[in-house]
């Protein structure tokens, strides 16, 4: 009896005390935010040199590192006057060097590529019906033939598509991804209401492929990502070969910032125009009843705009301050549940400009 008691006590207390699973910290200890010169095209600078109140900017980063705030946050980059001013990765330093899932910030890149297509004359007008570009993907519903590229770019196609249900089905659908989207029923007449979902950018991706003769990814590589010096990326595809225009792009954070830099410079990067000023103006104009959405860009006061993806993937463009802020976070997380108020960091960066 004594033996049984001793053995059970030893095993029991050993497992209870010795093998209890410890909680570990998500974030690293505060490690500053000075960017490293890597020879990747970025000129680095300091907050003081680029007109920031250094203490206020530092306070933003200290909150980013804080153990009990914004647990899903991964990194924050600040670009001003074309220079990388501050950069920190609070979960893993390697986050700097590996592509990160942009989620729906991909949509904004899809809009830029549509603009390049328009700039090149391959897309005659945003009001071109999609039926003229990808007729093979349509079903017999004549009402859908009124859907234009504009409707798809502004989330006004009227096609029923619930992201919580249909996105995964789109990803794993057999056959044509365009048919999967276009064969869904119309819930309202095209152009009459705003209904955000992942189906519309897939139609734009299909249009880009049909008009350019190459996948959206290949078109991006040739006309946007390549010229920006972005080579380490990937873009998920559907089984039919089409790039996912709504959520498929993975970029390194510094490369996200390059897109922001090109945007804040009105479409120009290293003296080369990549996207026309006219298109950018149109893409960042309000096109919806609430006035907060352009062509896959979310719009903010003072002409600020941003590409934004699920979980808190942001390329924020503040033209007034010649400022770009890039935020990355756990890309499948619930921002509201875990890191409410995380976007305040972006506003606080802008407020730190002297």
């Amino acid at each position: 009896m004594r033996l049984v008691r001793s053995v059970s006590w030893a095993i029991g207390s050993g497992l209870l005390c010795g093998c209890g699973i410890t909680d570990q910290d998500l974030k690293l200890a505060y490690g500053g935010h000075a960017p490293e010169l890597l020879g990747d095209g970025w000129v680095v600078s300091t907050p003081d040199a680029e007109g920031f109140d250094a203490a206020r900017l530092d306070a933003v980063y200290r909150d980013l590192y804080a153990r009990d705030r914004y647990p899903t946050a991964q990194g924050l980059l600040v670009v001003r006057h074309g220079r990388l001013v501050a950069e920190a990765y609070v979960r893993d330093p390697l986050d700097r060097d590996r592509p990160h899932h942009l989620q729906s910030a991909t949509k904004s890149v899809t809009a830029l590529l549509t603009g390049i297509l328009w700039d090149q004359g391959l897309l005659a007008s945003v009001h071109t019906p999609l039926y003229e570009i990808i007729p093979e993907a349509f079903d017999d519903d004549p009402a859908k033939r009124a859907i234009t590229v504009f409707h798809a770019l502004t989330m006004q196609t009227g096609l029923e598509f619930d992201n919580d249900v249909n996105t995964v089905r789109l990803v794993y659908s057999k056959g044509s991804s365009l048919e999967y989207v276009l064969h869904r029923r119309l819930t309202f007449a095209p152009g009459t209401a705003f209904y955000y979902h992942d189906g519309n950018p897939q139609l734009v991706s299909g249009a880009i492929q049909a008009l350019s003769g190459m996948t959206e990814e290949a078109f991006a590589d040739r006309h946007l990502l390549g010229p920006l010096g972005i080579h380490d990326y990937w873009w998920e595809r559907h089984g039919d070969g089409l790039s996912f225009g709504a959520f498929g792009l993975w970029l390194r954070p510094r490369d996200m910032a390059k897109i922001g830099l090109m945007l804040v410079q009105d479409g120009v990067f290293e003296d080369r125009r990549l996207v026309s000023s006219e298109w950018l103006a149109e893409a960042t104009e309000p096109h919806t009843p609430d006035g907060d959405y352009g062509y896959y860009f979310w719009l903010f006061p003072n002409d600020d705009f941003r590409a934004e993806g699920h979980g808190g993937q942001v390329i924020h463009v503040d033209g007034r301050n010649d400022l770009v802020v890039v935020l990355i976070a756990d890309s499948n997380s619930d921002l509201g549940a875990l890191s409410p108020g995380m976007y305040d960091l972006i506003e606080r960066v802008a407020a730190a400009v002297r």
Binding site: M1, G12, L16, I21, D23, S333, D334
Partner: protein, 262 residues
Amino acid sequence: MTPRHFVPCTALLLAALPLAATAQRDSVAVDWGMELGLSSLQLREAALNPLRHRGTFGSIGLLRERSSSSVSGRLALEATFNPVATRYETGKNSFAAGLRLGYRRLYRIRDLAPDLALHLGGTGETYIHFAYFGDWDDSHGYWLTAYSLAPSVALRFGRWTGRVISLEASMPVVAMVSRPETPILYKVDNNTFGAVAAKLHENLSLTSLGEHMAVDATLSYTRPSSHLARSVYWRIFWLRNDMDHSAAIVSLRHTLGTSVAF
């Protein structure tokens, strides 16, 4: 190994039961029982993040035992479910579910004292752990599937046909294990039944103690089966897996339960 192997593996385990039964020569007691338990889980899934998830809920089990004074065979199916959360979450949008199907065969090796017997044997087990962390990753499931073989030991105090205090433990020495490949570089899992079943057997690899360690220990008190509440038990199941293509998972489950005989 693919999902189609699950059925044969399970069938093999089931087939072992009658084989074990026929090996018994002395008076054999056969019991069907059901277990109900309160289960507390701690889990750290490094493929997601380094935080500890924990939660308490329940477990339910079905078992069949055939035992004599010299040998016993036990087929057990246990299902567990635990809503879990980290220190950051207020709600519980995450859960971990587990399914274990195993056959344990023990031989009475020697009597250590007049009423204390040492039993040795082995356990073949299928264990499927599946977790979904809704707030942290609403697009992917996290799992561990293990088909394992483990030596088992039991110390039983008391008359075999009467009240028994038993301490049993087993630790797999070889296992076929499937874990999610990390980093996860795609948008979303296919959540159809067939795709999930296939996922649970993705990258199934042969592994052993260096990478896969699990300890299953149960302390139980059993009364003669004429009583409705046949036994009460405290079970500890600790598991750690860290394979090259995946990230480490550590889990610790305490279950306090009772079993009833049919």
